[in-house]
């Protein structure tokens, strides 16, 4: 695979066009963190890539799953390059069902991978489809593209949890 093709893998190009979860704009506004009846908690984050000015707004919902909690859905709205759009799309597809702990674990690994300048190997089991983004690590200027949705999701998760604490404290 040429350098470019390993960056823009077929899966990435497809996700960049299909854009799973890119429907936030069409959803009704949610008062962040207010738990709907019987439903989970929601956190929202807006992130800007200072290199290019592209932005993403991402909403993450947290619900109960078995004994614990799990991400239930991710919706987002944003414009950006193929990398950033594919990354948001893949994340939205993978996240539902993950516990906050394993979700964070995955984000941490992804971040480390991205910052490695190509020196780390992707943990394919952990990252699944997102492992296709491993090629980005060799393009330092594009790392922020791949990270954009992930930083937003991390922050949104934090918001959701914080609102839960706030709610419990009532």
């Amino acid at each position: 695979m040429s350098g470019l093709d390993s960056l823009y893998q077929q899966l990435i190009l497809e996700h960049s066009r299909a854009r799973t979860g890119a429907d936030l704009a069409s959803l009704p506004d949610v008062a962040t963190g207010e738990p709907a009846t019987g439903q989970g908690l929601t956190g929202q984050s807006h992130q800007l890539n200072p290199v290019c000015g592209d932005e993403i707004t991402l909403r993450l919902s947290l619900g109960t799953a078995g004994d614990g909690q799990a991400v239930t859905e991710i919706h987002w709205d944003g414009e950006g390059c193929a990398i950033s759009m594919a990354s948001a799309s893949i994340l939205s597809e993978m996240a539902p069902g993950m516990s906050p702990l394993s979700f964070r674990h995955m984000i941490d690994h992804f971040r480390e991978l991205m910052r490695s300048r190509g020196k780390l190997e992707a943990d394919e089991e952990l990252l699944q489809d997102a492992a296709a983004l491993a090629g980005v690590a060799k393009y330092p200027a594009r790392v922020k593209c791949a990270m954009l949705a992930w930083v937003a999701a991390e922050d949104a998760l934090h918001q959701a949890e914080a609102s839960q604490t706030a709610f419990r404290a009532l």
Binding site: C52, D54, R142
Partner: protein
Amino acid sequence: MTMVSTPAWGDAQVSALDDDEVRRIRNDFPVLEQEINGKPLIYLDSGATSQNPRSVLEAEQEFYEQRNSAVHRGAHHLAVEATDAFEDARATVARFVGVQDDELVWTANATAGLNLLAYSFSNASVDRAAGGAERFALKPGDEVLVTEMEHHANLIPWQELCRRTGATLKYIPLDDAGALRLEEAARLMTSRTRILAFTHTSNVLGNINPVDVLVRMAREVGALVVLDACQSAPHLPLDFKALDVDFAVFSGHKMLGPTGIGAVYGRRELLNAMPPFLTGGSMITTVTMEEARYLPAPQRFEAGTPPISQAVALAAAVNYLSETGMRRIALREAELGQRLVTGLSAIDGVRVLGPGPGEERTGLAAFDVAGVHAHDVGQYLDNLGIAVRVGHHCAQPLHRRLGLSASTRASTYLYTTSEEVDLLVEAVAQVRPYFGVTASGAAS
């Protein structure tokens, strides 16, 4: 629109540089010998920063190895030689843009130059009104006029000046093609207009603004004229006196010189009446613990140790340009600009910003590829060894006006061959197929 067959700076006697000469010129630029991903580097990002000929690198090296010293403040041998080299450099660059030595102030870059003007006016507005600086003082009701196509460097300093003084910032809007709406300019220029600041040629559109028309309007209302010559000083023969502007700024690194140096031209009587901006050593006559008195220009505006070796190197750069011939360079780049706009416009889904084929433009072209983000376009080109710039090029309002958030820009210089332009055009034609975008602009 002026047609390219009669550029304002054209001259029947002089012909454009041709490809053979360009190939010879390339030998002087070591960085161009490089390969990227196994392909020869095609450097089409001179609008951001230009490359340096060997003579410029040698001038700087020679300075450090033979006469490096602080300037003006020393009586010893090296200091005298360094001062001579530094002031000769000023004279060389001043001549290059048609002004007197003491009308050229060194700055760190063009941005620092525009801030120098804005802050000096700001200082005049605070408490200097006593010292003959009234004419530079702004107050509520006064207006500063810019254009919608400005680089952030020629926009934000004026926004901040207005915030500090209570003056109002207005702007000349663009039409859908990106040209200045001159009838609006005429309407906006009133007795309230104190400063008109605009770019000579846009770093995105590649157009050339009608300096004469705008200066005439400004003169009628008594406004000071500030010209952003960042993109013209490297590419067009310039004479600030003939253009009749009050101030102009440019950057060394865009005209074959090093980073770390720029310049402000200001009419002598204006510079000497303006309050200082940066203060410190080398710009004073007498200092007590209570107050300082300042030297006339240019020293008045050059606090601290100046960019000495950079000035020497920049002088070598403008000598290189002068020897090659600015008219010939400008004619050559006009040809390349046409080649770019013609080739790119012909590609399905590609929209070139600014003047169309056959209309006057400089040697750069920014474009949008429908359905593909500029950063992906740039990445595709980089893989082929083609270096272009992607993003908003520090002109967010301009992009917003044209309905875009980013674009891809190819910018040429005296070392760019016609083949390089053709290779770029060919490569751009491959971008949408690569990213799987159909001709209609939708994803396939």
